[in-house]
Amino acid sequence: MINSVVKKNDEEGNWANSYTLTLTNDEVWDVPHNVNNRHYQAILEWVAEGNTIAEAD
């Protein structure tokens, strides 16, 4: 289950087309912005449930 999702920036501060996904079991994944990726699909479902992706720090 998803704990948080944060957009990830590259070294120049631009969005790196990926997300940092933290699960409730403490696993942390770098997830590509790709509809064929199961973690990204889970993020979309999580957002549809009313959750929000945080902007990069």
Binding site: M1, D10, E11, S18, L21, E27, V28, W29, D30, V31, P32, N34, N36, N37, R38, H39, Y40
Partner: protein, 339 residues
């Protein structure tokens, strides 16, 4: 079986292609590969995903039941060394309507074109597997056509001794499977379900998916803390005959699994060409096989922080920044492109 019937079955096997080439469309059917873990406790209540054996997904709705999933050594089924074991650790005897547990293998459509599904030449498909449990029970084995939202299932018995179960599903002339790398067909073992999935009539012929017809007549794996379920030798093949299980070497099976998941915890040094100085490190990791799609990544290093700079189905470029010593090393590294 009469001699004539036996000869007829042999003839069918010879002519329908079941003895030609690789027969089993299931990967890791003998439960040999478990890159993530060999035992995971406390599962349940929405813990969806891949936890133990490679390629086998746990679909778990919210509920009170908890279980342990393990790759377990077999001593009482000649020819097989490993199985999936599910052991209930917290019972759930008040099953909510939405509850469900399924043990699932998702299959790419491009690997299923031989089924000719959705055409007038569609083939029957046969599932066979070895199963046992703590007591007599009934569960459902099913196929779910993700592309066309169609379903067919059958109940199967479980006893306290290993037995091979064989189910032949009818050909489906409706709904072609995409010739692509996405999840097009799911092989499901349904071991627990609430009334949303049990209140209809089991869909034993292909039909537009109606959830009430998914799991009619099953027992629950969460009925008591003594409940167990053991599974191995899973085979999905074209035709109406269950041929002997297609044993593959561990190396073959691991290579097939690497298309979907790679884990390296061999604790190797990062970028030894820079070991003489401190500072950031950069390098490439080439996957052992081309992955299904661009993977999610996770890695741990003993110092600094890792950034995945770019990635493809072939590999990933990474940097390790921060206070990196001369002997920085990866402790774990995983790439996930599962369905």
């Amino acid at each position: 079986m009469t001699k004539a019937a036996e000869l007829a079955k042999m003839g069918e096997v010879l002519t329908n292609g079941q003895i030609g080439g690789r027969r089993n469309m299931v990967i890791n059917g003998a439960m040999q590969v478990a890159q993530r873990a060999t035992s995971v406790t406390g599962l349940g209540d929405g813990d969806e995903g891949y936890v133990a054996q490679d390629r086998w997904r746990h679909t778990v709705a919210a509920g009170a039941g908890r279980y342990t999933a393990t790759q377990t050594a077999i001593t009482d089924l000649p020819g097989f060394a490993n199985c999936f074991k599910m052991a209930c650790t917290t019972a759930d005897t008040s099953i909510a309507a939405t509850e469900r547990f399924m043990f699932v293998q998702r299959i790419e459509g491009q690997d299923l074109q031989q089924l000719k599904k959705g055409t007038s030449d569609a083939e029957k498909v046969t599932v066979s597997f070895y199963v046992k449990g703590h007591d007599s029970a009934t569960y459902v084995c099913a196929l779910y056509d993700v592309d066309n939202d169609r379903f067919v299932g059958a109940t199967f018995p479980v006893t306290t001794s290993w037995a091979r179960q064989t189910i032949t599903f009818p050909a489906d002339t409706t709904g072609a499977l995409g010739n692509d790398n996405t999840n097009d067909l799911e092989l499901r073992f349904i071991l627990h379900a609430g009334s949303n999935f049990t209140s209809g009539t089991l869909a034993t012929a292909w039909e537009s998916a109606t959830v009430a017809n998914f799991a009619v007549g099953i027992n629950s794996i969460f009925e008591s803390t003594s409940a167990t379920f053991f599974l191995t030798g899973v085979q999905l093949e074209v035709g109406s005959q269950a041929t002997p299980f297609e044993h593959r070497s561990f190396g073959e099976e691991l290579a097939l699994c690497h298309r979907y998941f790679i884990k390296d915890d061999t604790d190797y040094r990062a970028y030894t060409n820079h070991q003489s100085d401190a500072g950031s490190r950069a390098g490439n990791f080439h996957f052992p096989t081309i992955m299904r799609d661009v993977p999610s990544m996770t890695a741990s290093v003993d110092a600094g922080s890792i950034t995945f700079q770019s990635r493809t189905t072939h590999g990933v470029a990474m940097t390790i920044g921060g206070s990196v010593g001369t002997n920085t090393k990866f402790t774990t590294f995983s790439a996930d492109s599962e369905l």
